[in-house]
Symmetry: C2
Subunit: 193 residues, 2 copies
Amino acid sequence: MAIQAAVFTELAKHGYGRLSIEAVARRAGVGKTAIYRRWSSKLQMVVEVVSAAAVKVMPVPDTGTLSGDIRELLDAGAQAMRHPLASQIVPDLLAEAARNPDIAETLENALRETQQGLSAVMVKNAVERGDLPADTDAELAFDMVFGPLYWRVAVTRRPASDDYLDSLAEGATAALIAAHGPAAPPGGQEAAG
Amino acid sequence: MAIQAAVFTELAKHGYGRLSIEAVARRAGVGKTAIYRRWSSKLQMVVEVVSAAAVKVMPVPDTGTLSGDIRELLDAGAQAMRHPLASQIVPDLLAEAARNPDIAETLENALRETQQGLSAVMVKNAVERGDLPADTDAELAFDMVFGPLYWRVAVTRRPASDDYLDSLAEGATAALIAAHGPAAPPGGQEAAG
DNA sequence: AAAGGACAGAACGCAACCGTTTCGTCCTGC
DNA sequence: GCAGGACGAAACGGTTGCGTTCTGTCCTTT
């Protein structure tokens, strides 16, 4: 559908806030009527178009080692964020999500359906393999794997080279092994909260 | 200055894309002339106002242990992002930076002048203390500390409790110790890139 | 007291976009 | 071959914001 492509292009070029129905129609080569016939508002249009596109599920990593699995996830994530459209649209929608519950929910679902589930499976596999303690927090793992990558690519806007991803995977692996939730580790001064 | 406060409020409420000079003037209780006298454009106004406010430097952590220092940084970061204005404005400006070099530069400078330098000092201290290998990558450390936090707070929008920050600090510490750059670790199958 | 500058506020003409309506065309099905 | 539906295009009145201009009021300086 030409309209979907136009939505993405306009979203990348001007952001959600400045996306106009008129511009989408112009770019798609359709009349505004065609758009209003399908969607009742800009919000609904964007939410539906984005939802439909975000369902691209990536394969569950299963390399046999935790660091290998993490490395695969990182690679997939880095590849996704390298897409010029994604790298502009994702931060934009994310910012918009802070003031728009519908968009927030859409993104949350997309994230849950793609990466978060994979990370949970990965942790489960690692626990069964004995690579991770049984009380490993899957949410924390999720954050430790994708957080640095997103920060690197989308916030500091530095390149994520293969070497860098290697280091990241290494670090995240060690982090997961070390950080097993609320249990106190040996040898740290602990401030009781 | 009332104009600065108005810029921040409008930025948080509507984002950069939909921020209007008129709304800023209205909120600040000034005429548009007062704004146009000082700044020639919305971009220049936002860049200057944000730059001026972003100079708030946080203290260099020096707790004596690496994990303690990291925990301090995380706490400061979490506190900053808990500010409702910041948590809305930062992602928004970040998204805008993807299409606006001036804003990108402003944010880059702000980041460099605040967190990045601190993280470099922290790594240097840890190396001198013997907590980290000498070849530790300060940039990677930067990413491993702030990445998960930003991801957690600004992307997945989950709370960063004290316990969570404890785990994060623990994990990041282990990650830094483990991930010392391009040197191959023992016992991982390596795919030559 | 007089003069000048900075100010808030209102209005200007112009442009973009809103959501709706109308119109003429093309395509499809009966 | 005719009716109905979907369509692109254009125009509608209304709103918003642009950047500029003008006016009248303070406040400071001298």
